[in-house]
Symmetry: D5
Subunit: 150 residues, 10 copies
């Protein structure tokens, strides 16, 4: 597309955020949207409304081509479709390796045959302070979708 | 190993649980351990202490070879190391595709360079009732491990 | 699981259907459910209610272990997760290769950022008679799910 | 080739369409060809006749090199030949995973040994309004080709 | 399927043919069908009519389950879907590596945008005697299918 | 190499041929070499002698660097070494999937243990006119090479 | 095939050779064929004549089904078509990684555009005694095949 | 690295060698090192001493950055780590497929458990003239390394 | 091979060791060989001398077929040649991902162009007690092998 | 990112180090951090504190953009996520192939179910002088992390 490519878009947004000295948590307060969702917009994984794009453009001093690109429907996927090498991201793959089938059984025992939606879905990150070492808490919450019969 | 193979172990435990008419939630109450952890023990992904293995053996009427096998240190991994085809499990891979890099940035902005442990780690599943359709809530909580320098 | 394995289940159901001389179209009439959905139950991709399982058991003279297995929540995926070699199935992959991005653009131009559900979804096959050669008509219909923001 | 590369061609066409404020549905009306087929031409998956290329050039104000390139026979394939990461496109792969073998059996029960052509083939997208949420309807229609013996 | 598996079917047919001392060329004469097509039936890649299956059963003294299986619609693909290791078969992949794009250009220059059908298709093998070493001649002939527009 | 890269070479040759309005069939007549072989030279899969390179340079008005490059020994392979996505080329892979093992058996029944050479080898394309639709005829002819013992 | 499978064939031949206390070097003397070729026959990669099969049957006390199987034309390939894990075999892949392109250039500088045949080919292993550690000498010798033009 | 990249290095060396009209055999004489080793230096697979780099720089009129780069320790591997498509190089992979396990057995029968070194290793190419067609002789010679116990 | 397969061998040795209540550390004392090397023998990755095999047979009460199999030269590789899913083993792959290139540079800065042998090599595991949590110390020690020139 | 890309960062640091004539061992002395850790910082695998970045900038005369980039949290992974082709690095993969399962068993026999951390982890390289050839000693030391139950 003649619009900026996804990685150019990400780089420009990251550079503008860094120049303004803002964290994603600061953007959460300023925009009234969750920091993880805002980060996913920065990585070309979500679509802003015209108002949201404008507000962000004003906050970060964005170029109009960037502001327009934030309103496109992106081709999603922020990782190469292989096992990721970054240790922080890999741990989530390992969690699915070790706990994937157990998780499926427990969800289906509670809800029946169906899935947790990854579209009607939210994701939050919290810091849990702990004297033995702080803990990362990741909360995923999606609508249960039962399989339709016809 | 002359011990039962992982898939035989899983099949025997699942059949015994079904015969007793117990859910993983019932086992959570009876054993005082979380239902997801118990399911991961059934899939050969975790190790029971002798007391835990005995308590489970009594509850489910297990054969001594199964009881012994629950105390071994398993070679972990409950999925083929490829993209899974089951839609419930696939959605968690899709979540990492769409939200993986945003999640990494938000965690590291809050904690610094390091990872969320997948070993000193817990995983819970809850049902959130909602008139527009119930929601699945998955909570992951792991110790933050900062990178060591030397 | 101590229940019949997916391929044993498929083989037993196919053999019973053949022995009774029934087509999937006959089963559609007898059960009041679509022939494609019934075929997907035969391949271990869907779950029957107790009444549906009983009705099918009576029609095909099934063994009680098979009848019970039809009510389990299967680990789905009827193909190896690679490019299929069978020409009939491969053509659907080719359609996505050639028309996948065009399809994405047209759907999102009509509906916005989101997806067609593959869970709240139906699939029908019809024969369209044509003097130049009959045509296969495949109709897929799924709920549109818009991406949630939070 | 000294002709524009497929991704340059797509980007130029998309930018011209956006600049004129036209949707694929508008182009369907203007050209008398289906919107999905036109989108497939934009992605370098189909070939225009000289008249079709001219009409499109006039509508979008295209450069002559682009107009010429629309008449070439492209090397087809709009996706990397791996499992796609975009959720909208992935769902069609999941549909084949879950319903591929059932679909094969139902088609062959109706038509005999052969395939649905992906060449003598059309693909349409419709919006089905529904108070519980609009639905996406995708209709594929291809000539049945029976296997030849010799 | 309760029918013999494809590799059992192949093994039984090969053993019966060997026991009768017949070559595929002998079967070509006896059945009035090409030796390559008959070999593809042996490998579970084609479907016999009831008369063809009966004639072959009589010639080779086949068991009725085998005779029935020859009339099923097989899931096709006689190789693992990877690069084959057998040198005779690999050479055909190498031919496509070296001559694939040239072949595409020459076919499309002669016929327009479309493909050679692999369904309405025949394949013959001949021996060309030559004093400098005999040559293998492989002739493929398929209907040209032009891309449809809609 | 400081010589033009294979894709630059192909692009320059294709552009020159198009500018002169010549088909590969015209080049076959002008050069006295088969159109498929000439197309393989254009794709960097074959080597021209100095005389052949000169003749082609004169016909197409080539730059001396291109003329020199046609005489190098190329690193061969015109496709990525994966399953190709282009439908015309894919059909040849499908032919090997469906007819590969049958072809091996028929060739070896006629010739013994060995292979058809892909080096001492020719490939021709013909159009077979047919009222029910023209047919593509592809003829491959290679020397039989028996396995040596030592 | 109803004949022994390749791995059964290899296992039976290896067990018979071990029971007789013979090395491949002893078989080289007894049969008048090279030890590497004989080992390749044991691994189902080569075909024996009736006389060779008989001589080997007598030497090793083979069962007639094994003797017959040695005369079949095998589907070749003694490794999984992936990078091998065994260190001795891996080194030959590493040699091609490090010296493959240099080897191609030197061979083609000496011989022109073509290849070394792997069919009209011999392979020998010798021990070169050396006070600093004995050396393995592997000699490969194949007919040069020039590319044909047509 | 700020040094020339491996492919730039290769291209510059090849262009310089061509401009001087030298073959690798000529360089073997001039430098007193084997032509295969010199070709491997050209492909960034080996390291020159300062004297060797200087001598080559003088012979080929190299730029000082190239001369310096020849003395670096390269990251080795001259092929993509997949099955190569070039027919000359592929034949060496085929040789390992067909003769790999036989070669392992014969080497270990002669030397015990261990490997042929690919580091303390030489590789030579010779032309063997033969009236039935010249032959390529490739000789590999590496130190035998026995597995250590501890 | 008619000898026990590698996984049967491992299972039998593990069961015998467990029945005798011995750890690998106990076997280290009894046999005078390192516990890691002994474990590698159990996994079919190393070869015992006749004396070592006998001593182990006596200690564990092994069957003669097992004792003989310990003296064979195994086809090595204890993992599938893919990224392992077991978290303990995966960490060593992650170490190479993160520290592989740094390690290469530091080793070559100290030693020149060459490698650390994995054949003339030892591997030890120690427990380092630490009040903040015990540490695993893994020491690898291999002969440096410089690249040979010729 | 608008910051230098990882490979540009590595190239600039390597060129600056070379221009100053410093080894990683010299940097170890100057910075009071291990040479392997410093090399991992050069490869974009670790994060410097502002003081460490400043000290390095002064030593090597770095540009401020480089100095800033050293303080970012990198996306880690210094190799393509495939089997590496470089012989020095490959040997570490081979060590895991041959000794991976033995290592797992010995570690777990000593420590219980858990892993060696690759985050709270150090890695050292030493040269062990030996008259039969110097040896490379690599010492890895990581905290043992036991699996948590919940």
């Amino acid at each position: 597309m003649a619009a900026p490519s996804p990685s150019t878009l990400t780089a420009s947004l990251m550079a503008a955020k860094k120049a303004k000295g803002l964290s994603f948590a600061d953007l959460e307060v300023a925009l009234g949207l969750d920091e993880v969702w805002i980060a996913s917009l920065f990585y070309g994984q979500a679509t802003a409304s015209p108002e949201e794009a404008e507000k962000l453009a004003t906050l970060l001093g964005l170029d109009p081509a960037i502001t327009a690109a934030l309103q496109e429907f992106p081709t999603k996927g922020s990782l190469d479709p292989v096992i990721p090498t970054d240790p922080l991201i890999y741990r989530f793959y390992e969690i699915m390796q070790v706990y994937g089938m157990p998780l499926k059984d427990v969800i289906q025992e509670k809800f029946g045959d169906g899935i947790m939606s990854a579209i009607d879905f939210t994701l939050d990150v919290d810091k849990v302070e702990d004297p033995k070492g702080d803990r990362v808490k990741v909360t995923m919450c999606g609508k249960f979708l039962p399989y339709k019969k016809w």
